[in-house]
């Protein structure tokens, strides 16, 4: 893979089973309460015009990652080859400033280690040509990983979604397929 990579998530397929969350927690040995990948159910609108949609979120490996720029200990790096944002727990001092500046709450504090935890796109697997565990675990195949140039060009691929932070903050590399009522700027 070359160039920026990112997640493509088809929310119209997501059934909120949270298998991706569990697979992620398992491979990263996360403590209770930590969810590097999590599925949120957003309820929107007022009766009778209501809508519900599930959004699976993890680190977006942003093009302009606030965590890389603002970490005082330089614990975050963005790989030049594929744009994956990697966290180095050895350099991390556990100041949690990354969780302040990340609008998506991607870095999370692990009290057991005193450092942050974050999705690293399962680089041990992806460097071997395999998929991240959340991709492999999803029973509806709602999650994929691919070059941003490819996933961004898919019909209906968006990142400006209601209830999520404005994408211009950090330019996230993920793309979502959502129902029209979940698009930012549209009132359901």
């Amino acid at each position: 893979m070359s160039g920026q990579v990112g997640f493509y998530i088809d929310t119209t397929r997501c059934i909120n089973c949270k298998t991706c969350e569990i697979a992620c927690k398992d491979i990263n040995d996360l403590a209770v309460g930590l969810r590097i990948r999590r599925v949120h159910t957003f309820e929107d609108g007022e009766f009778p015009n209501v809508s519900v949609y599930n959004i699976s979120i993890s680190c977006h490996h942003c093009e302009d990652p606030a965590c890389v720029r603002d970490c005082p200990a330089r614990a975050y790096t963005k790989r030049a080859a594929d744009g994956i944002v990697i966290h180095d727990p050895v350099r991390c001092i556990g100041c949690r400033y990354c969780s302040w500046v990340c609008p998506y709450g991607a870095p999370q504090f692990d009290p057991r280690t005193g450092t942050m935890k974050k999705c690293n796109l399962c680089i041990d697997l992806t460097d071997e040509g395999e998929s991240p565990v959340c991709v492999g675990a999803c029973p509806t195949r709602a999650i994929e990983v691919g070059p941003l140039s490819e996933i961004g060009a898919r019909p209906g691929a968006v990142i400006a979604i209601r209830c999520l932070p404005p994408p211009e903050m950090t330019k996230p590399s993920s793309r979502y397929k959502v129902r029209p009522e979940a698009l930012k700027g549209l009132i359901p």
């Binding site: 159910t41 957003f42 400033y97 969780s99 709450g105 005193g114 999520l164 932070p165 930012k184």
Partner: protein, 298 residues
């Protein structure tokens, strides 16, 4: 809320900066023989700054690796804040030592340098909170709050010491207290206006509404106490002193009580600031009605 180390750190940093300004001003304007009442203030700058720096360590998951916080001075405002606070503490060590040994040679110059470093530390400390991802903080009311606290604490020192430094610039201190109170009042009003706005983005609008909702429903009484004790009381004190009432007339106990009440008001304001945003929370945790989620912790 688990941000108490940061609350203590920011308040004590501003208090040390204000104390340094008060001591330096008196050092410049009062004769050597009449400086004795300000000596405890000059000596206390270093311990207060050191306790502030130590308090900030309790915020870290790995306090023993705190030195790594200086690794990103070029880009990270937090790195710059840590650097300036460490520099301020070192400069305060020299300054307090000069007061301790009662060496007046070079002390005013050291005080000026200390004040410049302290002011820079407070301002950079304020910019650390100006992050777009935390909409309730991302406004000018936060720097106003921090700078106002430094001004207020510096101006209150002579009042606490009964203002018995003969010939000391009482008017300047009274003005500093008044400006500090006014800046804090302005900061509180600015915060309300900021939270009440409705930006076009639904995420930012929800976070601001949530902050306003919290302030109105859960922290209304505390906000009122902050206004009364941290903003109005300093104004009343400065006006009474300006109109000619001697600080001696308040009595030692009353002066200490007023000082502690103002300190409590300022502290409540800082606690409220941290209560408005919960930076470590998850993205969907918003009770504002626009966004909600049903995911349980696993």
């Amino acid at each position: 809320m688990n941000e108490w180390p940061l609350i203590v750190f920011t308040l004590l940093l501003e208090f040390a900066c204000g104390s340094a300004m008060a001591a330096t001003l008196v050092d410049y304007t009062v004769r050597q023989a009449e400086l004795a009442p300000m000596r405890p203030v000059g000596i206390s700058v270093f311990p207060v700054a050191a306790v502030a720096l130590m308090a900030s360590l309790f915020h870290l998951g790995r306090p023993l690796a705190a030195w790594r916080a200086l690794a990103n001075l070029g880009n990270s405002r937090l790195s710059l804040e840590v650097f300036l606070c460490a520099l301020f503490t070192l400069a305060a060590l020299v300054y307090s030592f000069l007061w301790w040994t009662e060496r007046s040679g070079g002390r005013p110059a050291a005080g000026i340098a200390l004040c410049i470093i302290g002011a820079a530390a407070v301002i950079v400390s304020a910019t650390v909170y100006l992050v777009p991802a935390q909409p309730a903080w991302n406004s000018g009311w936060v720097p106003c709050s921090l700078v106002g606290t430094a001004l207020l604490s510096g101006g209150l020192i002579p009042f606490l010491l009964a203002a018995n430094v003969a010939g000391s610039p009482q008017r300047i201190f009274q003005v500093a207290v008044a400006i500090g109170g006014l800046v804090l009042l302005g900061s509180a009003v600015w915060m309300l206006v900021h939270l009440a706005q409705v930006p076009s983005d639904d995420f930012i609008a929800a976070r601001l509404q949530e902050g306003l909702h919290q302030l109105a429903s859960q922290h209304g009484l505390w906000f009122g106490l902050h206004i009364a004790l941290g903003c109005i009381l300093p104004l009343v004190v400065s006006v009474r002193l300006w109109l000619g009432e001697s600080a001696h007339r308040f009595g030692t106990f009353s002066r200490l009580l007023i000082f502690l009440m103002i300190l409590a008001g300022v502290t409540i304001g800082r606690v409220l600031m941290f209560a408005l945003e919960s930076p470590s929370r998850d993205i969907g945790e918003s009770p504002a009605g626009i966004a909600s989620h049903t995911s349980a912790q696993q």
